[in-house]
Amino acid sequence: MNTATRNQFRLRLQNVMFGLLHASAAINVLALSGVCLYLACNGFSALSWEFLTEYPKKMMTEGGIMPCIVGTFLLAFGSMIIVFPIGVATAVYLHEYSRHSRLTYYIRFGINNLAGVPSIVFGLFGLSFFVTFLGLGVSVLSGILTLAILTLPIIINTAEESLRRVPDSWREASFAMGATKVQTILRVVIPAAFPGMLTGCILGLARAAGETGAIMFTAAVYFTPHMPDSFLSPVMSLPYHMYILATSGTDIEKTLPLQYGTALMLIFLVVGMNLLAIILRDRLQNRNKQ
């Protein structure tokens, strides 16, 4: 093989392989748009004002999903209210106080492992600790606490990432003005990093709203005829309702429109929140570059 044909071969190989790379990226785009479009087309007709504002009726074969929406909001926002301050405090400690101590090493070890625990194991832990040991029962509160632990790594990692983006010169400028470390963190560092932390909070909300395994033994029930009147009552939630309708409803074929509608509502919420977080993050990155 002479040099010319060999070079031609090398270039052709490159073109073929790059074509494959393009194709695999396209598969991702197609997968997401395929799932979303399919659910949107089938679920759109089920969406109506009644569907969003009514209780399930007739053994959950008719009616709406209002209690599920309320339950999902309670669980997601409740867990964020608990986990956001804890996550931010941990990130501040890790990044501003103790970057390389022994304690920091163990904290990071804990976070990394927590991030890898399967959601069903969070469910088992919630059942064993919050529901049984602390005696909270199957309740909103048990679910909130379980979801708070599940989303802790997300909040800590995004908060630390946004602290890293605050230039050191800002801290030094604040110290040079005579501010103490606490003052510097509260008035300079955290305000600058706050939008990034909020992005993490939105990601956490989305994760908590779409989570099923962690709440199926701790907070969610098949059906409850009334709204939760305290944090100790169980709730219905969108993902669990979705699972129940799809696998063990009384008449699975007949409830298909309800299933599509619920699925559409769920991805609308979760994907929408993630999209919002991505847009916010891109804006922040562009602002930082300028």
Partner: protein
């Protein structure tokens, strides 16, 4: 020099930070507390190597080997599909795509990671299962292949984003040196960039495996649920998370079945901890700038 307030704040923050260690410790502790009692009335070897899982029959059988094999089978299938796809997408995003395309494709990958697992499971039930039944002649659409496919789509985004960081952190000088010696972009990629990023890609693969063995809703909804060792791609399986999720609601509180499910949970968390530890070990050893 530090005032009392300063010191108090530091201690307070350190105290709050230990919550993440305590949570992890608490999870392990409470799984053990409710799982260990099981071995008082059922021998460990029969549990791990028993072939029959009949938790509600009389006599009860708690052999989880079919569940372990089911879990490993769906994980292996998902990994075989997801690794080439995820790594190829990572290469595309970091080496091939123009900035404009990257800004479009990257959010798609991130949003793919955001899809709730119950929705992916539902998609597998109503779209993939009938397809497998009608066109590939499977006796049931809820089987190993379906679960593997759905899990692959859940682990592609993880593999992709970790691998992309690894490829991105390969120094530019290496690429330029290779290109200046007359190598094509593809040759530079396969002989210089990918070997330099290999440890990060290894981490990505391990994290993807950890994700797919622990994923619950997908395997609960589309794996079929038969506790037998699969012999073909179209066999129905019952991975560990599916078994826990499906049976916990019916298991009487503090019964043998209840303890057995916690013991199964211990086996599951051991698998995921091993994968995670390996992932971070690889990342630390080569110090490629990713991971912790």
């Amino acid at each position: 020099m530090k005032t009392r307030k300063e010191r108090f704040t530091e201690w307070l923050l350190a105290g709050i930070s230990t919550l993440s260690i305590l949570s992890m410790g608490g999870i392990v502790l409470f799984l053990l507390l409710d799982g260990i009692p099981f071995f008082k009335f059922y021998p460990l070897t029969d549990f791990l190597f028993g072939l029959d899982w009949y938790p509600t029959d009389d006599p009860m059988e708690f052999g989880i080997l079919p569940l372990i094999v089911g879990s490993l089978a769906v994980m292996a299938l998902a990994t075989v599909i997801a690794v080439p796809l995820g790594v190829a997408t990572a290469i595309y995003l970091s080496e091939v795509a123009r900035p404009g395309m990257r800004r479009i494709v990257k959010p798609f990958v991130e949003l793919l990671a955001a899809l709730p697992s119950v929705v992916i499971g539902f998609f597998g039930m109503v779209v993939v299962a009938p397809f497998l039944q009608d066109y590939l002649g499977a006796s049931t659409g809820l089987n190993l292949l379906n679960a593997g496919l759905m899990l692959a789509f859940m682990s592609v985004p993880i593999i992709c984003s970790v691998a992309e960081d690894a490829i991105y952190s390969v120094p530019r000088e290496l690429r330029e040196a290779s290109l200046s010696l007359g190598a094509t972009k593809w040759e530079t990629l396969t002989r210089v960039v990918l070997p330099a990023a290999s440890s990060g890609i290894g981490t990505a693969v391990m994290l993807g495996m950890s994700r797919s063995i622990g994923e619950t809703m997908v395997v609960l909804m589309v794996a079929g649920g038969a506790a037998v060792i699969p012999t073909s791609l179209f066999d129905s399986v019952r991975p560990i998370p599916a078994s826990i999720a499906a049976e916990m609601a019916e298991a009487p509180f503090h019964s043998e079945h209840y303890y057995a499910l916690f013991a199964t949970g211990i086996v599951l968390i051991i698998f995921t901890l091993i994968f995670n530890a390996t992932a971070f070990r690889i990342a630390e050893k080569k110090n490629s700038g990713i991971g912790c």
